[in-house]
Symmetry: C2
């Protein structure tokens, strides 16, 4: 199965000639076949197959003003992002949803500094017809940029926008997740719950913590100790240690991500606290990691692949119907019980 050379690739005139029609008719036949006779249609299709024609994207772009590609933007990449399988899984979902489409994925990984010149350039429409921003992390500048642009975009994960910028996003129900965690731990008999949260300026952890507090309050419990980390193993290790130092009575911890929960489990083990007998732990994400911690982690589902697919669906909608402004879609979560509770 050899790859055909790019040089001298068959062009539309070739197709038209073989099919015995004009370029215009050939073009129409290829693009949906609006107002072409069945005969012409068949002839063109046969010709396309015969000569192995593939439309030239550049030429098409030039006249349609579309790029037939969408940007997947991941601001502020680095260790945090890449040690977390969340991103890769989202990407898989995006790919899957786009697989029966002509759209190609242009990847825009952020560099240090947030909205780089490069990112800016992507968002100016030169490179893509729309953007999906995976904002597991803070994305102020990107949200700003995008809201000031006409480029259709969808955020995966509620973006943190200081100003009240209307954005379209899809996210898991973080609030419910936090509440479920509280209810579950309380039902297990937790007397002294605590939480390890993510950064205070990011949508997901803030929402998770809000739900958690709601759950506690609904059960008549007072506010609990909270420590903040940044989704890395190291920060979570430090935060857990601090928490246990300050509150040795803690017997249940809600941690804002599986990765951080795995760090918490390690700290607990190092300190001789048994899980779940002495301290119960609930994570968030339900990545593969949760099945392989010691012991396997009770956690909340963050449907990364579905988020990716859903984002594509929303973006495609915008692309067809014109920008719709600021819809949002919240996917349900669920508590997966394993052995840490």
């Amino acid at each position: 199965m050899a790859v055909q050379q790019q040089r001298g690739a068959p062009t539309l005139v070739e197709v038209a000639r073989v099919a015995g029609v004009s370029r215009a008719t050939a073009s129409r036949a290829i693009n949906g076949g609006d107002r072409v006779s069945p005969d012409a249609m068949a002839a063109v299709q046969a010709a396309v197959k015969q000569v192995g024609y593939r439309p030239n994207r550049a030429a098409r772009s030039l006249v349609t003003k579309r790029t037939d590609s969408i940007a997947v933007v991941i601001p502020e990449s680095g260790r945090v992002l890449f040690s977390d399988p969340f991103f890769a899984t989202v990407l898989q979902g995006v790919t899957t949803a786009l697989s029966h489409t002509e759209l190609q994925i242009v990847l825009a990984l952020g560099e240090k500094g947030g909205a780089s010149e490069r990112l800016n350039s992507y968002l100016r429409g030169q490179h893509a017809d729309g953007a999906i921003v995976v904002s597991h992390h803070r994305t102020d500048k990107v949200a700003e940029l995008l809201s000031g642009s006409t480029m259709p975009s969808v955020f995966i994960g509620r973006p943190w926008s200081p100003v009240d910028t209307p954005v379209t996003y899809i996210d898991v129900d973080n609030v419910s997740g936090g509440r479920l965690a509280a209810e579950h731990l309380l039902a297990r008999g937790a007397q002294h719950p605590a939480a390890i949260s993510g950064p205070r300026d990011m949508g997901a952890p803030v929402d998770r913590l809000a739900g958690w507090h709601q759950g506690l309050a609904a059960a008549g419990r007072p506010p609990c100790p909270v420590r903040f980390a940044d989704f890395t193993v190291d920060s979570a290790t430090a935060a857990t240690g601090q928490l246990l130092d300050d509150h040795p009575e803690v017997d249940a911890i809600f941690v804002a991500s599986d990765l951080m929960a795995s760090a918490a489990l390690r700290v607990l083990r190092d300190r001789g606290r048994r899980v779940p007998q002495d301290v119960r732990v609930v994570g968030f994400d339900d990545m593969d990691l949760a099945r392989t911690t010691e012991p396997p982690l009770t956690t909340l589902v963050n449907p990364a692949e579905k988020l990716g697919r859903g984002a594509v669906a929303m973006l495609l909608g915008q692309l067809e119907n014109g920008a719709d402004g600021h819809t949002q879609r919240i996917l349900p979560t669920a508590l997966i019980e394993r052995e840490t509770t």
Copy 2:
């Protein structure tokens, strides 16, 4: 910092008008500035800045026959790939190396079935000027496709090509890694070493195992028991169990990836074998994961980000000098000693 609209974006004629030169001169000034007077150069640069000009990629592509983008191909994605941070780290390296370039990254994640029609289309030059194939896994069809094409390409990880297809690749020194593992475990007093390898039809695990055997042989040791897995946690868990069932005397295991090593550690713990007292373990990759296993894993460095950057450098070389056929570059590895040995 608002994003400028795509509609009515300034064009080259605009720049030329403002600069008081012709389109041709403006174009030359923008593209390297060959044969333009300093005066014209300055005027054009000023004009570019003033009107906020960005060259239209499609128009440029149409005439240059280049797309100014490179494809990052990841065949056969799915669980395996995405539970492994190797891929994401490579991607980071690729991005970094490309960041001061006009080249954009087009992502081509494989679907089931290997060389899909979609992948084929990417490789036909419609979408990219060159390709980087991350072949942590088997890539027969892709290697075939690429070798039958004129598209410059670089594999990350020696591809497994049944036929003797000449390919350009960059890889870590897997053979040395295997040998280092053997030497290290033997030096630690291992009497009954064994190995958990990856698939027999993939470059990396085969090379690692070859080096491992070399190391044993050099020390006058007989061939050791080997079990094969496929880089997933589940397969490694099964393989380790089987190995211990068949060879209870084993006191040292070389595992072909950190992820699989983490599974092996779990099995050992479940069976009451102490690490490193009863059984020593060496992994491969040195991803973040290795620092967080219980106990932290001794492993061999697989410089994923460097591989990504190196692949870009090699590809850029091909793009400039014309395809060079089949060079290869092997990056050194090193043993990182932690607590499993």
